[in-house]
Symmetry: C2
């Protein structure tokens, strides 16, 4: 029995805000599971991860990664199950994660199969390998431990605090003995951040119309100032945090979603970097291979023990991916945005 694969391609590059028109759904034939070539692995995707970095890849501008080519399957992290294998490293039924992209199946040749990672789903759910025990979790872990380097008793702030990365940053900071303060959009997300994730405080940035107002709220939430900040948003949020940073504070620049569509997002007070002797550092987690093994070990243990909580927003079916992605860029998701493919 031959299979039909459904795939979503990048049809065009957005000018400013992306729209559903930038994507195109196509169907392509796959070989039958019993007709693989030597070395091939056929994976059925259960989960597709949607992440803010994909917005950058849709544009052609200079960035840290090559742009997503037009008319090719959108890149993306995936978790699934090996359907058939003629590769000695895999067998049918193996649970795997990889970068399979926005499609229902992935057929890997012998040379590509090394990009697949087998995972143990006995204590950690498969989807968590796309969230707290995957790229978002390692991003949080590296930014916190590799750049912010928090010590017990210090105050760590994170923006997009209820998101896949931010939620891990704050919970790890609590594990390290820090005061963890989130910034999120909306009362419901803030409640979740404090009541379910255990942050010490969370500020709804939507209640503040400028950086000065948000900075006043941060002063209340961070009575001893801010020692470390994990930035996912940029713009007004970053300005407000910088106004409350302590001397020798560290800022890990992970994302600036406020400027993903090309809006100017100037930093209002760069002189604070000097007067407060701050270190502001950008990073890309894929360039930090040494961080992954210790990060995944700690994150996997914390999730298995129920000490690292996470929330998922699940869109059903591949065809829902574009709308879910556009919603992610507007903060409409709550926690990790996934697409359920099987």
């Amino acid at each position: 029995m031959s299979l039909t694969n459904r795939q979503i391609l990048l049809a065009s590059r957005p000018q400013g805000e992306p729209s559903a028109d930038n994507f195109r759904l196509v169907e392509t034939p796959l070989p039958a599971p019993d007709a693989l070539a030597e070395g091939q692995v056929l994976v059925r995707h259960h989960w597709l991860s949607l992440d803010p970095y994909m917005r950058g890849r849709m544009s052609e501008g200079k960035s840290y990664a090559a742009p997503q080519p037009l008319d090719e399957v959108m890149i993306g992290g995936t978790a699934g199950e090996v359907l058939a294998s003629r590769n000695p490293a895999f067998r049918a039924g193996d649970k795997v994660v990889g970068y399979g992209g926005w499609q229902q199946y992935q057929l890997l040749d012998a040379g590509q199969a090394a990009a697949l990672q087998k995972v143990d789903t006995s204590r950690v759910p498969l989807s968590a390998y796309l969230g707290p025990v995957g790229m978002p979790g390692v991003t949080a872990w590296y930014g916190l431990n590799g750049i912010i380097e928090p010590r017990a008793g210090k105050t760590v702030v994170v923006s997009a605090a209820s998101g896949a990365v931010g939620s891990v940053v704050g919970q790890l900071a609590k594990v390290r003995g820090c005061r963890a303060v989130g910034i999120a959009g909306g009362a419901e997300k803030c409640r979740y951040v404090t009541e379910e994730l255990g942050f010490d405080a969370c500020i709804d940035y939507r209640e503040h119309r400028d950086a000065a107002s948000l900075a006043r709220a941060l002063k209340d939430a961070c009575p001893d100032g801010i020692d470390g900040h994990f930035e996912n948003v940029g713009g007004m949020v970053l300005d407000a945090v910088m106004l409350r940073m302590n001397a020798f504070g560290r800022i890990a620049m992970c994302g600036m979603i406020a400027g993903y569509n090309g809006e100017p997002i100037p930093m209002a007070y760069p002189q604070l970097i000097l007067t407060n002797r701050l270190r502001v550092e950008g990073f890309i987690v894929s360039e930090q291979p040494a961080a992954w093994p210790p990060a995944l070990k700690e994150l996997g243990t914390l999730v298995a023990e129920g000490r690292l909580k996470y929330r998922e927003t699940v869109a059903e079916g591949l065809e829902s991916a574009p709308a879910a992605f556009l919603g992610l860029l507007k903060g409409r998701n709550f926690g990790k945005q996934l697409v359920k493919l099987a």
Copy 2:
């Protein structure tokens, strides 16, 4: 014979740009050199150093150092000669540097004398201990070696390149085997930076009216991009440099003279910190005590051997200090701004 000391006090805090009215000259009596108390040292200042950091101290706003108190002698680095001493650590004729402030003499009690440093003027001129072999030189040394960490063959850019700090940054970068590119104000300064100091190139920022134009000039001057930047200015200069930074580049934030009078100096493209994985770090050289001994050793050797060049602009007499300082803030000096007091 008793002495009269002439001193310049901070009379008022500037609103915006400082003016001569913010200073006041006073005369105060000093004990005769043969009438010192036990432990006292009387120093006659030969040189007063004028430095941009003094502008920050004139204001009351939050900064890394306490503001200069009103109606007290303006702080400042000084170099001079011991006139009389009843302290076993010093004797008349010793050449010393310290933070004696804007005055002709300094009388130090036993507990204050540790702030004086004896210096050897056999191979290094006394005034150089306020420049390349003093605080400005160590500032350059630490920003370059402690933050930028340049490797041979990499490109280092420095703004205010003909100044007391910038001139050392570029020459040290050359010693390290780097390509050194300066940014300075005016053709004469740029000629000096390349022809006398040996930088590979120097750009006159006054020929560029926006960051895009300056960035194009930087592209020509830095064909392999910019790996390290030492920032003394901020504003448009910093924006232009950031547009040409290579991945994993480092920016040492030493000064932002463009905003010293309270002008907004937003950083236009903070997202480049992320996309280029930059590290941007502010520092204050007085907080880096470990850097001073190795820095002064190397800088003293380079000056003594004629391998580290410097230029001084000398104002004559204490009463000329306010005008010279105001000129420094406008870039009217050329090299290290000093006031000759004796």
